[in-house]
Amino acid sequence: MRHALSKRFAFWRRRRLPFAVLFKKFQTILERNNQILELMADMGDKLGGEYVFDRHYIEHSVQELEDLVFKLVSDFSLLNRKRNTELLIACEQIRQAINGDLAGRPVQTASTPRIVPLSAIGLELTDEVGAKMATLGELHNRLGLTVPDGFTITTGAFAEFLATTGLSARHAEAVRYWRDGDDQALRRLAEESHRRLLSAPLPRDLSALLLTAFRDLAKRRDDQGDLKVALRSSATGEDGTSSFAGQYATVLNVAEGRFLEAYRQVVASAFTYPAWRYRLARGYQDYEMAMAVGCQCMVAGTTSGVLQTYAPQQDAKVMGIESIWGLCAPVVNGDCPVDSFLLDRIPPYRLRVQVVAHKPRQLVMDQQSGTLWQDVAADRQHLPSLNDSQLQRLAETAMTLEGFFKRPLEIEWTFSTADTLHILQVRPLSRWSAAPARAIVEAADEPQAEVIFAGRGTIVQCGIAAGRVVLIDSDDDLDRFPHGGILLVRHSSPRYSAIMHKARGIITDIGSSTGHMATIAREFRVPTIVNTEVATSLLQPGELVTLDATRNVVYRGDVSEGHHFDLIEEELFEDSAEYRLLRRVLNHIIPLNLLNPQGEDFVPASCRTCHDITRYIHEKAVEELILLSENHGAAHASAPRRLTADIPIGLLVINAGDGLAGPADAPEVAVDDVLSLPLQALLDGLIHLGMWCTTPVAVDLHSFMSSFTRTFTTALAGPRDIGRNLAVVMRHYMNINLRLGYHYTTIDAYIAETINDNYIYFRFLGGVTEFIRRSRRAACIARVLEHFDFRVEIHGDLVVGRLKKQAPSRMRDRMRMLGALLCYTRQLDAQMHSDRDVACHAADFIQAIRNPSGGNTHESRR
């Protein structure tokens, strides 16, 4: 494959194309990038349940997307004149994975690991470990909740086992019986299959692997010789969108001697008559059936039960708990009297109703293996099996979980002898569907619902969230983001995907609804509004607010009350094969793995989704263009023209297309003839500084200006120096390389109407003073850039600032600011006596920009 693909793109490397052609390619890349993001967002929207779509839609969209991605790579190959074989291979692998899903290939593959420890499990491993275990892994590894330790025997192991039994071939038979309504034949087939699995030997490798995993767990738990585990089915689809409640087996308290037998028992339960019938009735295809098995250390529960986060048959504002002494199984099986509690769904989770049952017996772990019934001490038989502290902890945990999963849940739990709450299982409460919009309307009509702002910005993901505002403005803050907070940021960035799972909602001042972050917010289904412009100035960190991203309003306080859900007695759309297919396909499309452009894994080989590919190419295309205009711009565009200005700026400008007016062969060009929008704005900042002269600020910018021009003139002594001051321009684009005295600045910018295409790349290096002062200047510049929404990196005295996806007016303002900044910082390093000066000078500059005299319309921040 590698050879064929690279041959296909080989011709591009041989040709050198004019800069204007390459630049057009670059623009095409930006356009395609946008189209892909929009299409992805569009497909993601369809999972929300609002749309009716069919298989044709999925196939059609996938086709369109693959086409766009392939063209994107082709364009990029033209731009960077490389084969990009790795990228093409990544594309091909994604394409094959998607087509595999569309063709209904089995979800498990040969490369699937057979054992995965709890610590490595998350929702992304759903295909391997089943939804039930994936959910528990997520609770443990992301939410930090206590879950019984253990590992999962994957669907890969299941496939390997099944292959030795020849049973996978019988599905077609089962489908036929089901279609013909021949229940007897289906029952016979199921019983035969079930029997055969119970007695079939496991492949030797597999059984050795399983026993090793068991012993490793025992060693880790310091439980040698005494470890008992619970084996639970975790089939694909189970507990995800269909509950499969009670269809598959759970075997409790299994010692090493019975471990393999218990594994077979759980696997075989997939082929009982009721389970098979259930799958056929729900339209599950055979490839959708794969049984992973979770192995969890047994927790000697002192009291256990089930919590339903919503009990509308009682009251819409309560959650319900049923509990019993001992292990949890009797509550699930419903074959014993249990205590029941109703608690408020909102803090402080007041106990509304408590009904204590007579509980003469409890289920406990047998010393050897299995479980046994035991009499409860007489004085405890009539006592409630949960105390206030336990109820409180249960309620808090349940609301956290519900917030995370965004739907009413049924939670199985147990308190250990050490009084630690263990979550055993979490599944969606069936027959309930989220319909929050109506609830908030009622709540909002109440007089106490104060609107902080409404109708600002763009809705990215509908939904409602209440929580405390957490303002984030640097990378370091990300780790401290608390679970359940409302993320408030100045501008959207894909790096927030790292905390997306913790955020109840997201509000930004700046951002687009088709950007990377928007796509991820939809993936996590986090209610999100971007581009509000005012959020950071109106919301206080720590303040409790309700974000209604359905009606586009932010309220003060929690006005969502307990009305999160609405009863809808209809089949859930998530149960349809089309929905499951779209979700599987989108797994290869939407998740973003390439988060950090500076990271080592920001390479084509790490691209696992279409999103990764677009992100990689977008980042690299910008880099490539800078390289191109530095190295090849002069060789391929028109002859350079010297800029004539009031100041002797000594800048040569190359017009690569519609960037300059006047005759192309003229040796000079006036400032007024500059048509390039980015250069216009930059020159505006550089040259027209007179407006600040009268401003009573601590730093006299005018004096910097004079020093700048003076030093600059002397620096322009030799032709080599002149060559450093070069701009390649087009109508919407500029690449400028400046040497001001001894520092070097590069700015690469594109400014046009389409917000998503816009970017400024700013690089600053060097200076005449000793390193420490230069570093201070770098820190000062970084502060200023950050203040103006740039994403900044500092390496010693090198500063790189990036600004993306802002409205053209804002981009122009930022360019003007950069022009001013270049003047201002020209000799700052000579004045940087202490680290404190960094902050002072940065503040002075920002102040000067905020309060210009002479009616400048620069916008200010907060």
Binding site: Y51, V52, D54, R55, Y57, E570, E578
Partner: protein, 140 residues
Amino acid sequence: MSPVADQPPIRLLILDDEPIVCKRLKPTFQKLGYDVETFTDSASALARLRQQPFDIVITDLKMEGADGMQVLAGVKEVSPATRVIVITGFATMETARESYRKGAFDFIAKPFKLGDLVECVQRVEKTLQTDRRTPPERQP
């Protein structure tokens, strides 16, 4: 808006060869008080339409056997007052124009929002109520 209480429920026939569409639409309209029947093949749907008139027909365009245009013509033939809404995943200006020419009330591209279709049906319902007060002249 649900059908007026003192009138018999609005009768709705839904035809789409993709079962998922019928599966999604049926409960939605039932909950709103409509009398709903769904079909995944046009022959059965046409047979049913000949047996009994429906107030509203929602039909897919591209199907095995008789396609949506033929169904549209068939409906108008047996029951000119029936309103037809065409839904299709292959929407073009041309098919839209043809649908309207053949008497379709509205034309909706798939995938669509449930709310949009509900709104469309409710608009049809308004015209039906007007018609019930002043019966339309029979079309030729």
